[in-house]
Amino acid sequence: MIGVELVKMLRRPRTWLILAMLVALPTLVAILLAVTDLAPRPGTGPPFLSAVLTDGTVFPLAALGVVLPLFLPIAVAVLGGDAIAGETQSGTLRYLLARPVGRTHLLLAKLVTVVAFVVLAVLVVAAVSYVEGRLLLGGAPATGTVSLSGSTLTEDQIAGRTTMALAYVVVSMLGVAATALFFSTLTTSAIGAALGTIGLLVGSTVLLGLDAAQALHPYLPTRYWLAFVDLFRDPILWDDVVRGLLVQLAYLLVFTLAAWASFATKDIDD
């Protein structure tokens, strides 16, 4: 069933359209930077972007920093929101369940497929932006890539930490995927489920900007999204990365269970 779902995802034109859009924004950023030579001042703007003019090899990280806060979550919300509600809308859900596909099995296959999409998206964005960084922004300085703490990192260290950063970005989307899947079991409107998820993320972002909500901050799904930056300090600052992992796993668990509870005994009557 997971295989079938993966095939369905890959054969959907929408999947490729979303990937193209995810790649388009960093590409535009790379071109603008290369043409104008105007990087954000250090400490402002998306992470790593201030460094890319001197070191094109960190551009994949800058690209992920660009797409992570908005584009990638929206894409995940759209795919996750479509998971069950989309099948309902196309009238295929009842035939899948009458085939029969177990309901729990179907939910898990959908979740795995959304996560597979995130992996694919992160890899594509990283690969494309790596090439763009090298071509448009140049290689690493002769002295080597400089960490955020000012020390120099070896190429092996950079490769290892980049891999970890990509994995962390994937994990960051688990909460969004599970939330969207849950909403998708509640409604027959795929767009409704996606918008509900996006609404939750917007709410989380708003609360993050509000000092009065300080007590809630550690539990918000978007709080630690950019913590992958800490992987490039010397030594690595693990605190927020670990908290981010725990928060995402908690959201994944809670919303997957909620999705299961809502879907397992639901009457499929439309």
């Binding site: 079938v4 009238g91 899948l96 369940l97 029969p100």
Partner: protein, 301 residues
């Protein structure tokens, strides 16, 4: 005929809040039946069909399909059941054959890829679609979608077909083709549960009829029992009053120029009436049609 129950429900009930959408329904469908499940829109047909397939869970009562309890045994029951429930469903961006192949690959006991391709082509031809058609299903007409839905129901050569309004959206020739297809399947031993609001469709194909009215099964009987001769003769005559007084107690019903007369033989009756100088404009044995049966069953007079 084998009388094993293919579908059996006991006191099957589905409540939505205070509304009893399906109310204590006892269906009995035997092997080899073409069972016509009739009812107006909103009478609970679809909910019943969905409960048979485990899509909707009953509030109370039991469902047995192919001798096993549903929905508990759906993993072993449903692979032997083909279903078309309230319109076909297909992924709009994929071709008909890809849709069928994906559906087949989704569930237990999926065929091997080569067998699957052959089976998909066979079943597309069977329902009158072109296996070489690579267009996405969004380009299909309503009738083509309906045929694709039927193909999806047939792809696993089911023992039981549950079809909800299968001829929806088809032109008269398409309806005729599908009817031939279903009769062919029946001859091969497939049991068919056909839900419809079209009396003519049921009357032409079915061997057994169940009528649902506001959630209650008001009638369930073999069609030839329902439509067996009534022992009545219908007479149309301009001399209706005189004829009625002449025949006295034999007259069951009199409306305008038409009488229903209890008589063994229309010819003898005609000869008698003509001998009595009564002008007869029309005469013949009276048969009930399904429409009348259903109306009588549905509305408590």
């Amino acid at each position: 005929m084998n009388t094993d129950a293919v579908i059996r429900t006991r006191a099957l009930t589905k409540r939505y809040g205070p509304l009893r959408a399906v109310d204590a329904v006892d269906l009995a469908v035997r092997e080899g039946d073409v069972y016509g499940f009739l009812g107006a829109n909103g009478s609970g047909k679809s909910t019943t069909v969905r409960m048979l397939l485990g899509l909707v869970l009953p509030t109370s009562g039991e469902v047995e399909v192919l001798g096993e309890p549903m929905p508990a045994a759906r993993r072993s029951v449903l692979p032997r059941v083909g279903a078309l429930v309230e319109g076909p469903g297909a992924y709009a961006h994929l071709s008909g054959r890809t849709n069928l192949a994906l559906l087949d690959a989704s569930g237990p006991g999926a065929s091997r890829p080569r067998d699957r391709r052959r089976r998909v082509e066979e079943v597309l031809e069977q329902v009158g679609l072109d296996p070489a058609d690579r267009r996405p299903t969004r380009a299909y007409s309503l009738g083509m979608r309906q045929r694709l839905g039927l193909a999806a129901a047939l792809i696993r050569r089911p023992r039981l077909l549950v079809l909800d309004e299968p001829t929806n959206g088809l032109d008269p020739q398409g309806i005729q083709e599908i009817r031939q297809l279903l009769l062919g399947l029946r001859a091969e031993g497939t049991t068919i549960f056909l839900s419809s609001h079209l009396l003519a469709e049921i009357e032409q194909m079915c061997t057994r009829v169940g009528v649902l009215d506001r959630g209650r099964l008001v009638l369930q009987e073999d069609l030839d029992v329902l439509l067996r001769p009534t022992g009545l003769v219908a007479v149309r005559t301009p001399d209706a009053q005189r004829c009625a007084s002449l025949l006295g107690g034999m007259v069951e019903q009199l409306e305008d120029e038409r009488l229903l007369v209890r008589a063994a033989d229309a010819a003898t009756l005609t000869a008698y009436l003509v001998g009595q100088d009564i002008r007869v404009s029309e005469v013949g044995p009276y048969r009930r049609d399904l429409e009348r049966v259903v109306l009588e069953a549905g509305s408590p007079a």
